[in-house]
């Protein structure tokens, strides 16, 4: 099991970049939330690689905290998606770009 640390970090960087591109190019809020999950997972992977390279368990502890944060974030995010879908009948984030323009929303 001789894997250079570089390559583990590189995998984390590649996954993070893919998640970032997904977050930037998609306008569907479900896909944006999934891209955020990919980015969080990549950050956790970097923690695990570093922790294993040093032979310490701290990296795994940090991954558990990232997991807890991801769970809380997803529950609130999905509740927001449901609210948004009930209001606008769409998953397009551009529909929710105005704060208090009732007229405009009811027309579209």
């Amino acid at each position: 099991m001789n894997i250079p640390v570089n390559q583990g970090i590189l995998l984390a960087a590649i996954l993070f970049c893919i998640g970032l591109v997904g977050l930037l190019v998609r306008r569907d809020i479900i896909f944006m939330l999934m891209s955020v999950e990919v980015m969080l997972n990549a950050a956790g992977l970097a923690f695990i690689v570093a922790g294993s390279a040093w032979g310490q368990a701290d990296g795994q502890v940090m991954f558990i905290f990232i997991l807890a944060m991801a769970a809380a974030e997803v529950s609130v995010g999905l509740a927001l998606i449901i609210q948004m879908f009930m209001k606008f009948k769409s998953v397009d984030t551009n529909m929710a770009s105005t704060m208090n323009e009732q007229k405009k929303i009811s027309n579209t």
Binding site: N2, G22, V38, V61, I64, S75
Partner: protein, 175 residues
């Protein structure tokens, strides 16, 4: 064992790319689950079996099932795919991809031109993680508990539907 790492990484990257360019939400979600399972294999090879199990149980098992339930509730169907085709303009993909790729190549350059020794990954058993978790990081555990309970309250508050008031004096509250 080394070749397993490369195979799992390759599939993780492919599945993630397929996820961000997909148009059907459920298919994209299945690709994301495959990507998470591949990353879990990587964790196992790196010598973190406890975290590999947690990744499968919590990420792929619980969080992704939440996504599946919400997509089922929204009931997007074929119209959703059609709407997605209108929303997702492939031309938009070019700009952010080029800039992210440039940053990624910088990262690759830095990582490849640094002499890091090939480290032998020793397996870190779950009991070491548990001991560290409940001694050194006990305060952070409490903070994570706060975060989770605020997440529960927030999700409950945001997820409830507007209540309909039938009393004639309180009818204005329906607005």
């Amino acid at each position: 064992m080394t070749i397993l790492f490369y195979i799992a990484s390759f599939f993780a990257i492919i599945a993630t790319i397929k996820m961000i360019i997909g148009t059907n939400a459920i298919h994209a979600l299945l690709y994301l689950i495959t990507s998470l399972l591949s990353v879990s294999v990587v964790f196992f090879i790196l010598g973190a079996p406890f975290v590999a199990a947690l990744e499968v149980i919590i990420y792929a098992g619980a969080i992704m099932v939440l996504f599946v339930f919400v997509i089922m509730m929204l009931n997007l169907g074929k119209e959703g795919v059609k709407e997605e085709h209108e929303l997702f303009n492939k031309k938009v993909l070019i700009g952010p991809s080029i800039i992210s790729l440039a940053l990624l190549f910088e990262m690759i350059y830095i990582l490849m031109h640094q002499s890091m020794l090939p480290v032998t990954f020793n397996e870190i058993p779950p009991d070491a993680v548990g001991k560290l978790l409940f001694t050194k990081y006990i305060l952070v555990i409490e903070l994570a508990a706060f975060l989770l309970i605020s997440g529960i309250i927030g999700a409950y508050h945001l997820g409830e539907k507007g209540k309909v008031v039938h009393h004639r004096f309180l009818q204005k509250e329906n607005l």
